[in-house]
Symmetry: C2
Subunit: 406 residues, 2 copies
């Protein structure tokens, strides 16, 4: 039997390393050597990889890895060219893999990364190569098709709902009219923003309004709504997705001025939606406003993870290896929810062609944009995913992380 | 013996309610009725107060209160006029207190709030009133004079250092040149920003540069420094105080454009320093940059508190009551550090005149602005304050808070 190689790709999450730990542990338990690509497929093309068995030596290392945020192996945003446009790159990848006797290839990532699995699998099948390709889902955005939800989503929701609940407490502390606008990640899908609705409970009034990017954001109606709410409530807390757009498809952050930055990859960063909306409200209503952007912390807050999420992430990694050992190829690990109360899922290996490059948005029937709320079905869907806590291993007052010695 | 009244004032912290719990518990243990002012002295003037014994009924309620962020009783930013300008307001306060037979008055707050204690004590002494006034320190900013540090500072530092450590992991995930600028609270004092230096450890390279508001921020030198660092390191993470100013005393957030918002109290909000600096770097170096503002979460993240801090906050509240029972008046509870290793403090009651309205900044010998670092003395000073963890009481996946039924 050949060796395993595993890589991480796309934006990191708090639990992406739990999936890596799952792949490694299952490989190790089956006495298979496990390689790790440094910076995903981009690094592999430069023959940058390590033997994970040399790095992760003890069970404590595995536990530390599970609790380490961001991608331990490094990540990339690299789209493989089409096979017909550039066969050299495929030949190169396969020759590198063959050189180190790899016959099982795992890639942990979102829908862009699943495109890599799809293309490599397609090339391998066409050329009768003996390498299996399996995708392990990962994204805080929860925008992957077919699967009930994605690893990483639950922990991000738990962190967001907790932080929003704390901000609501903070916002109501003075006896004065004020508006807080909280900006949550999500360019096209509002899953994460919806988690702010979980704050409503017997000890918290919850957020007053929620706006997701799936529905056109009508600023005039929004201002009217806020004015009306202010008549009965001094302190308003509003959750919005970074990607909300007006009827012309213009992002709210781009409405008044050019205040965008380019992120690490030259993508236009949508940072600034809450700030812009706070400015507009202040101008229109003359009311005290503040904008809070939850930002990168949403995808890396491993100090407060969902136990359900970290366990599922780990198991998704080991399930991928088991699926490969069972002969699966060109598949992605997906979750199927068999029951909501009590919560239960089963894992399956699903055809990558149904998943790669497809973005799953929040169903419109779960959004009530007229009232700025989401349905109880959506809340019931998210709630099981934030249950239980896994805390970091603390050393000298701070979380300990596993560091790659590259 | 008369009754106790306690109020909370100024910006909230993650542990301000632990001090309230301390006052309440010690009063209750001494069979004294404890009133709580709603929205501090401002609410008291409108006779808004509650009997805390009716609200906090069980030991679990006390534990919940300790873990509830923001001010349970509500807060205010209200400066009492000078005695000679307005005696009516003082007469009114004292008559309200006398009506409910209060002879011990506790105020939990920062240096502005201690001004209230000072003025009420002065008026009381002048008029031979039989009411004792004691201040309980509270501020994440750690800018209170005389005391070694303030309750609230340790938990904020722990949250900031943990989050910055997670952001550093996130920032290094891609094999690409990038700069992350993290904006931390602190208009005039850089204590909180200094806590970002705690990230440097055997599993983390730490932040690359730190800038505090105590020292003039030289943009040209800063850009040179960044350019130089980029020659050996692809990913840079820089921590700055929101209040850093150039040699003309202009806040960096106000340099390029008018992008400030007014906060709840009409104060100019300095939000935007990191954003502005990121824009400037992007223009000058053409490099990918991102700005992260830690924001309000620094003062309300009760999901990840320092055990040392929450214990000290609780004990400061009960010490205040004991001091009053011992006959102290016109005093503030202060901490004196008797040993750093092992860490130990003693509490004392100190004259409020030495503390009210005075802002304690980071000593200049602890800041190396030339190299963008802080001294090991500063790190050694903060480190004991972030030790140990107190986690929330979790219900249905989220922290449970104690809610005031007003």
């Amino acid at each position: 039997m050949g060796n395993i190689i595993v890589g991480q790709s796309g934006g990191p999450t708090a639990v992406i390393n739990a999936s890596l730990a799952g792949v490694f542990k299952c490989g190790k338990d089956n006495n298979i050597k496990v390689y790790g690509m440094i910076n995903g497929i981009q690094g592999l093309l430069e023959e940058k990889y390590i033997e994970l068995n040399n790095e992760i030596k003890t069970d404590l290392d595995i536990e530390l890895l599970k609790r380490t945020p961001s991608a331990y192996l490094g990540s990339c945003r690299f789209k493989l060219p089409n096979m017909e446009d550039n066969t050299e790159i495929y030949e190169k990848i396969f020759s590198i893999l063959e050189k180190i006797n790899v016959d099982k290839f795992f890639y942990i990532g979102g829908n862009d990364s699943m495109d890599t699995i799809k293309k490599l699998h397609t090339y391998g099948s066409t050329k009768n190569k003996n390498i299996q390709f399996i995708g392990v889902p990962k994204t805080i955005d929860n925008d992957l098709a077919v699967t009930d939800h994605t690893p990483g989503f639950g922990s991000a929701c738990k962190y967001i709902a907790t932080t929003v609940k704390e901000i609501i407490k903070d916002a109501t502390v003075y006896d004065a009219k004020n508006i807080t606008i909280i900006e949550i990640m999500g360019r096209n899908a509002g899953w994460l923003t919806a988690s702010a609705a979980l704050t409503k409970s017997d000890d918290c009034n919850g957020v007053d309004l929620i706006y997701l990017p799936e529905v056109v954001f009508d600023i005039e109606k929004f201002i009217c709504k806020v004015e009306k709410l202010q008549k009965t409530k001094k302190s308003l807390v509003i959750a919005i997705s970074e990607g909300i757009k007006n009827k012309n498809g213009i992002n709210i952050c781009e409405l008044e001025e050019e205040n965008t930055l380019l992120d690490c990859f030259g993508h236009k960063s949508l940072s600034g939606t809450a700030n812009n909306l706070a400015r507009i409200l202040y101008k229109k209503l003359g009311c005290k406003t503040r904008a809070i952007e939850l930002n990168t912390t949403q995808r890396c807050a491993s100090h407060f993870m969902s136990e359900v999420d970290i366990n599922e992430s780990f198991l998704a990694g080991s399930f991928a290896v088991k699926a490969a050992l069972d002969g699966e190829n060109g598949k992605v690990v997906v979750f199927e929810r068999t029951s909501n109360n009590p919560y239960n899922i089963v894992m399956k290996a699903h055809n990558v062609y149904d998943i790669a490059n497809i973005e799953k948005k929040v169903p419109l029937q779960w959004i009530d944009s007229e009232n700025g709320t989401v349905s109880s079905d959506l809340i019931d869907y998210i709630k099981p995913l934030i249950q239980g806590e896994v805390y970091p291993i603390m050393v000298n007052g701070l979380p300990k992380h596993l560091k790659l010695n590259k």
